[in-house]
Amino acid sequence: MKNNSSNYLMNESLDLLNGIQKLDPPSQLFDKIMLKVERQKLYHEKIDGKWLGIAAALLVGLMSVEMYFIFTTKQQKEKQQIVQLMGSTQNNLYHE
């Protein structure tokens, strides 16, 4: 009985919520939304597409040039080491 009456009171209180008026959004809100969307669109256009492709290609190019130099200098060092080792067998002390 008590539960029923309190439930009824609660429903009555909740009916108060019907009295909340719907407000019209400010007139400039539509323009603000469109401006924000437009800015976002421009931002995306700037970042992606052509420029992103060019940046990626440049990065790959730079990395491959670097790899080429690393390998060639390594090979040159190895060759030099071999030449030095060979040179040491022709020491003057061994000549009679």
């Binding site: 909740l14 919520l17 009295g19 809100l29 603000k32 969307v37």
Partner: protein, 177 residues
């Protein structure tokens, strides 16, 4: 999507989004900010909208999630200011004051604002059910579609919300005495 179509969507749904945001944040400035964010998300995700639900339902869902995220970040900011203020040993009660919903008419201002304050203290899903069923006056089925729940689950959430609300209101009254 063509700009003309998008502007048509904004024109059709901006009042709905703005008012739903107001029910959550009770401030016109915050509701405006949320409305802008909602339509930005709509613009970015419209390609992903599969049309399984109505556009209105989908926009409602985005609005609710944006509002809840906004409130979470606001609560975090308030917590941060409160923490900083207590460290500075200054009074920060004003940071926690809840504003009054601008849609409340003068005649039942006090009763309604107390009720809304109590609704704000409910768990997120219970609060959302009350907002959709009682303020937005949507049907149980529409609410269920928006929340991706069954109609029965919405009903049980609503009953739980009412029970909790009653408890909050009784506690507040006892506290005031």
């Amino acid at each position: 999507m063509s700009p003309a179509n998008f502007s048509e969507i904004v024109k059709t749904y901006q009042k709905q989004v703005y008012n739903l945001a107001l029910h959550y944040v009770h401030s016109t400035a915050d509701a405006e900010e949320i409305t802008q964010d909602v339509f930005l998300k709509v613009y970015e995700k419209i390609e992903q909208f599969e049309g399984n639900s109505q556009l209105k339902t989908w926009i409602y869902r985005i609005t609710i999630n944006t509002c809840l995220d906004f409130l979470k970040s606001k609560r975090f900011k308030l917590f941060k200011t409160f923490f900083q203020n207590t460290q500075d040993s200054s009074n920060s009660h004003n940071s926690y004051s809840t504003s009054i919903h601008p849609g409340i008419q003068l005649e039942n201002k006090e009763g309604l604002s107390n009720l809304l304050k109590a609704i704000n203290r409910l768990p997120e899903n219970q609060k959302t059910v009350i907002v959709l069923l009682k303020i937005e006056q949507l049907s149980q089925q529409e609410t269920a579609n928006i929340l991706n729940l069954s109609s029965k689950a919405v009903e049980s959430l609503f009953q739980r919300a009412k029970k909790n609300l009653q408890q909050i209101l009784t506690n507040t009254k006892e506290h005031e005495k």
